[in-house]
């Protein structure tokens, strides 16, 4: 047989929505975005799937996590794979995810990015890595009108006791509906709890055209085998690291970064001792230095500093 897998397994008309969020704090809202759209589309007679990325779980506070929806006019055949292969729409529940996280990976040419932010679109754009496929950027201040729903309910595939779309998720769902024709607004409003928030997102998202990619949408990604049985270390065993575990660099987790005022520092070293990530280093003079490569922005250093020598500043205030 001589078929091109990509063409053979095309699913035309299928829309893939990928929502990125910060673990534990916002993953519920990420779920809300995909479930709201999927439920609305299902009411309209479409075939749908909505789920959380399994490999991102268990979610940890601040770690980037993903939720997915697939909406199709025909029954979905690519139903048992781990991720959306080519998202049409990418949504960020929190703005710092544009920095250091490959949110636009495998975006379909002409794809849409929606970001929850107060900042200017151009400012946001500078942080994204490869924007060649990005067709449109939408910015909406969801946090200004709704909160994040923090709950354990609904994790691991169980029912969301708090319902769908009570907070930021509803706003972002509305924004998507405006940016791309997927579902009718009325059907989406029926699917969410906080209809005001959803309407707000629809009416207030600022859309900006970015690129105009010419390629037709490509579909199926063939699996690359990252590891061969002979390149994978024996039994998966690895040598212990000496100074840092480069396989898990966590600097992109932070939404706020610690800013150090050396003049106030008393050299008590509590921040150094109490950092769970070892991201505060001792200097020879007996003071400290902050290693942003691994810092997750938890803020413990600020909490334990007796001298007010550390403050947390939004990470996106810094261009590098």
């Amino acid at each position: 047989m001589d078929y091109e897998a990509e063409k053979l397994f095309e699913e035309p008309g299928m829309i893939q929505i990928t929502t990125w969020a910060r673990g534990v704090l916002q993953n519920k809202d990420a779920r809300d975005v995909v479930f709201a759209l999927a439920n609305a589309a299902s009411k309209e007679g479409k075939y749908v799937q909505a789920w959380e990325n399994y490999v991102d779980l268990p979610d940890r506070v601040n770690v980037p996590v993903r939720s997915y929806a697939k909406i199709s006019p025909k029954p979905i055949e690519s139903r048992y794979i781990y991720e959306n292969e080519n998202p049409d729409v990418v949504v960020l529940t929190e703005e710092t995810l544009v920095k250091g996280v490959s949110v636009l990976e495998d975006l379909k040419p002409g794809g849409v990015l929606i970001v929850n932010t107060k900042r200017d679109s151009k400012y946001i754009l500078q942080f994204l890595d490869d924007t060649s496929n990005l067709g449109m950027l939408g910015c909406v201040d969801a946090t200004g009108v709704a909160g994040y729903v923090k709950t354990l309910s609904g994790a691991e595939g169980a029912t969301d006791a708090s319902g769908i779309g009570a907070g930021v998720g509803a706003v972002l769902a509305g924004a998507i509906a405006k940016a791309k024709e997927i579902v009718k607004l009325d059907d989406l409003l029926d699917a969410v709890k906080n209809k005001e928030a959803c309407k707000y997102g629809y009416e207030n998202v600022k859309l900006m055209n970015v690129n105009n990619p010419n390629e037709a949408a490509s579909a199926v990604k063939t699996r690359e085998n990252k590891y061969g049985y002979d390149t994978l270390p024996f039994a998966g065993t690895v040598h212990s690291p000496k100074k840092e575990n480069k396989g898990m660099v966590t600097g992109s987790w932070k939404t706020k970064r610690p800013v150090f005022d050396k003049d106030r520092c008393k050299g008590c070293l509590m921040c150094w001792l109490d950092c769970p990530d070892g991201a505060v280093l001792k200097t020879d003079e007996g003071f400290v230095d902050f290693d942003l490569k691994y810092c997750k922005g938890c803020g413990i250093c600020v909490a334990v500093c007796p001298a007010g020598a550390v403050t947390m500043v939004p990470e996106l205030d810094f261009v590098n």
Binding site: R60, S240, V249
Partner: protein, 317 residues
């Protein structure tokens, strides 16, 4: 013999739990690991039963341990450690290994210590293996998304103990006191202590005392969990301090059959202060909080008595 650390200036610089792990921002157990590894030093073998400190630390086939580390099942941390320790004993005696005898430390969660892993812990203590068994207690099965464990406080919400019309308080069971459970009845137990990340130097010294003991030692370390207890990630240390200040967690050690309380708060704060800071208790009504206060008062009374026989906190109904 590992030396007592006097002040923060004497804390060694070297890290044996290095940066780069997929633990929550503000993770209490991660800080426990860092402090324990620092205190233990390079001649250490860690055994990691399944749990947060396994999955979060070694996600994607790599890890932050600068010393030898091996995964065990959640069921058998104590048994695997017994095997490692026995192997070195035999190999050294038979001349098959001529290096330093390493410290063997098990880092188990509350499930792997008080529940599914309890049997293996007890077997290890009974046989007298020279192993330090540490329970990092975040008061739930956290890695699987926060489910009730035997150390989950009464009245806490987890996904297996949600609050609802038929279960107002959430968790209806009073927790096991694993340290007390194993403290009495294991004749070979050489050293036992509770510790908290709120008192990191005390924690490290207890680790060293446990390692110096020639025989089995047990440390029960409370490790607040921002995800499970539902508080902001910068409050981890504050939460640990409050646990001690309210009496919800007590700091003591048991050595040569004698108990020593290693820290008493100057004034014991009402448990309400602790409860209102955590989302897992946000459903509790005043009558529930009163019950918790009585439970803590009883625990405190028991701790103030010289304990040489089996102590038991009466269940409160």
């Amino acid at each position: 013999m590992l030396e007592n650390i006097k002040t923060i200036k004497n804390v060694p610089d070297e890290e044996y739990y290095v940066s780069g792990h997929r633990t929550c921002a503000g993770c209490g157990p991660a800080l426990v690991y860092r402090l324990v590894a620092k205190a233990a030093g390079p001649n250490t073998i860690f055994l990691g039963p399944t749990g947060c400190m396994y999955v979060a630390n070694t996600s994607y086939g790599c890890g932050p341990f600068a010393v030898p580390w091996m995964h065990t099942q959640i069921t058998n941390g104590g048994a695997v450690a017994s095997g490692v320790e026995s192997a070195f004993k035999a190999m050294i005696r038979k001349g098959k290994y001529t290096g330093e005898r390493p410290h063997v430390i098990v880092m188990a969660g509350d499930g792997g210590s008080s529940d599914i892993g309890l049997q293996a812990l007890s077997g290890m203590l009974y046989r007298g293996h020279d192993v330090l068994f540490i329970c990092y207690d975040n008061e739930s099965y956290a890695n699987t998304g926060i489910q009730v464990s035997p150390t989950t406080p009464w009245g806490a919400v987890t996904t297996f103990t949600p609050s609802g019309s038929k279960a107002e308080e959430g968790n209806k069971l009073w927790p096991k006191d694993n340290a007390q459970l194993i403290a009495h009845g294991h004749p070979e137990l050489k050293y036992l202590a509770t510790a908290s990340i709120a008192y990191p130097i005390d924690l490290m010294n207890k680790v060293r005392k446990g390692l110096n003991a020639q025989g089995p030692a047990y440390l029960h370390i409370q490790a607040p969990c921002p995800k499970g207890w539902q508080f902001d990630s910068d409050k981890t240390i504050e939460m640990a301090k409050l646990a001690v200040d309210t009496g919800m967690f007590q700091l003591y050690e048991l050595e040569n059959g004698k108990y020593t309380v290693t820290h008493t708060p100057k004034k014991r704060r009402p448990v309400k202060k602790y409860i209102e800071m955590q989302g897992r208790f946000s459903h509790l009504k005043p009558e529930h909080i009163e019950k918790m206060q009585r439970f803590v008062d009883e625990k405190q009374k028991a701790m103030e008595v010289e304990v040489t026989a089996i102590s038991q906190v009466a269940p409160i109904n």
